[in-house]
Symmetry: C2
Subunit: 440 residues, 2 copies
Amino acid sequence: MDATISWDFSNLEWSAVGDPAGLKAEDLEPFWERAQTAHNDLMQRRDTGKLPFYELPQQQQDIDEIVKYAQSVHSKFTDIVVLGIGGSSLGPAALYSALGRQVENVHEMPRFHFPDNVDPFEFDDLLNHLELEKTLFNVVTKSGGTPETITQYLIVRERLEHKLKDHYKDHLVFTTDPEKGHLRRISREERIRAFSINPGVGGRFSVLTPVGLLPAALAGIDINALCRGAAAAVSTCTLASVDENPAYGIGLSLCLLRDLKSVGTVVMMPYCNRLLSCADWFRQLWAESLGKKVNLKGETVHWGQTPEKALGATDQHSLVQLYMEGPFDKVICFLEVEDHDVDLVIPRIYPDNADLDFWGGHTLGNLLNTEKQATEAALTENGRPNLTAKFPSVNAFSVGNFLMTLQIATIFAGSFLGIDPLDQPGVEMGKILTKKRMTR
Amino acid sequence: MDATISWDFSNLEWSAVGDPAGLKAEDLEPFWERAQTAHNDLMQRRDTGKLPFYELPQQQQDIDEIVKYAQSVHSKFTDIVVLGIGGSSLGPAALYSALGRQVENVHEMPRFHFPDNVDPFEFDDLLNHLELEKTLFNVVTKSGGTPETITQYLIVRERLEHKLKDHYKDHLVFTTDPEKGHLRRISREERIRAFSINPGVGGRFSVLTPVGLLPAALAGIDINALCRGAAAAVSTCTLASVDENPAYGIGLSLCLLRDLKSVGTVVMMPYCNRLLSCADWFRQLWAESLGKKVNLKGETVHWGQTPEKALGATDQHSLVQLYMEGPFDKVICFLEVEDHDVDLVIPRIYPDNADLDFWGGHTLGNLLNTEKQATEAALTENGRPNLTAKFPSVNAFSVGNFLMTLQIATIFAGSFLGIDPLDQPGVEMGKILTKKRMTR
């Protein structure tokens, strides 16, 4: 099962999609040197410990500690609630959606909830449906001060203590900075179990820290296989040659489609429901890392490429009309799954009706994958650039491989563009205005 | 509770957001005449019966028939599965997500499922969790031949008959063309109850036909109030003056942002989880209606504006960095809810910690709405055009009002642009290639 994702970039080429959006070899040539400089920059920063997300798959001690904790508690709980927002929710939700339903003994595993919004109707509805005696709350904020997560924690903390008295502590586990912040202080003072996030790893690169690994382990997901898949991606995606390094291939082609061909939108379109949350995770990664007003030289660039999501085959009946005939402003990144683990044969019920009988004997998986290939062919024929990530199957190894590849693609794109992919200055004003208005 | 949505367009104006994306009065003036022509065109087509979706809120006989059927069956079922794709799923899913959890006696109402994809893992997982004896399948396809829906129907039909023998009929209800297609034929031959879709109403305008109303009524939603809200929108949104007609205001400003300011993306961003599926519904409506290669004159235009969705406050931690600092290529359509029906007070648990205590005494609803207003202010300050639809609360009347307003905005935009908003020629090639490849 340890098979990596294969990436097919051929439908980005001018020979496949033509004008106006196809990329020619001579479009790319002038940028090889800049790509090599970006590679050297990344390797140097990695060597000096400034990009610790590369090393996360190798943190065997942390992985073992998480697995041990998960095994010791998971049978006590029917429900696990992750209180976190942004990367603190998108990462674990992506892992759970992709992998949480095909684990062994799935019926003995707790149900997961990711109430990342401070929507009172939604949060109240969730709390009313939980049995607090059998629920574990994983509170996740690196800084320890994220308002949405802290306010949810305060509400939950009051209800737990009211119901369970001093046992409330057994229903909380924190994931936060190893030293700093309110959550770390509370964990010390009230003796609540806490896992640490490497201070050098930001929210959108945190899926392989305890932010993602702890909920995954509690869901019964094989986090060792997840990390093996990610480690395999690190091996391939640190090769200097863009041709051999899929992460650089993705980063370079998306950036050049933006800058040379005005392709302002990248649509991630899995033909597999389980992978849809990975598209949500990618949206944050690509949007927040690369959507920046100024570059590292301080020049105003207003760079950004909008990451969209769509679901195949569903959105063939919703968005594909636009992708096929609208402006040439999109590149589609298909996710295709060769083996869906389960398949259903379409029965022959109306042998006298040729239209209905046509589908009989085929499987749903066959139909779904054929629809992907047909849509890919039609988009290509209509001059719409697209690429495909092919999953042999959706398993911990392939998902780890996929997520790490995209993280490296993003960090590479930042370096290539001369943009800092690790900050998010644009959201500060909103935070300040919220606090100001709440004070009034 | 019969209060309409209020629309605030002031942050689209140059006086609020400045260059490069703000709209000045003199930008709009040259287009008033074209807008009036579009209005006259719509009114004339409506008068000659060519736009029957305008009249759907008034079909009292259909509404009564649906309510009667729903009352007669809903207590028999714990689960209702809607088998449909595109508008046949997005409409009912939007209604159920928005309104399905605040109905009276919600605990006696059946659970709903919208497995719109032919994903074998997902569909198998759903079928394994259902008790067929207590499940009703609503099969929805206007043509009666949609491959995804028909193949799901065949699988379900075989299982139902195997389990329930001749009683399988009581577990099926069809929504389809009144005369034509395979589903209508099956309903006649096998005596399966079927509701009719007006042949002049296409999938993405079908939410107020039995496509949306039947599942809504089965969920206990007040479809009379829904239609009253929609009727109120028809009254306002047939006024000739763009200033008094919010649908024309939306249609005109989004089209001019696209054509004059290169704003290629419209982001619908509810600050309310229950309204997120309305954004999915809108994505189909705007993308598939207006994303077209040729206009009515036969000229190649490749028009289109990409409808995106985001969730506030969640996506402040994911996408807002890009919206704030990236290219000036987006307009944000906020959905704000004044009264969330339920609210939760944030308790004071750490009085000695000023940071944590700061939130105490406020409510989650207060925090959520303040975050919306702060984000709106910050985006405006950063030159990002935005508008707000304010819901007094999320109820059947306001949701009906909202959906009809957007349908008229879309049909108006089509007329204004000289584009046919009712066809979808771009998806034919994919359908043909799928059938070809399945034959092999």
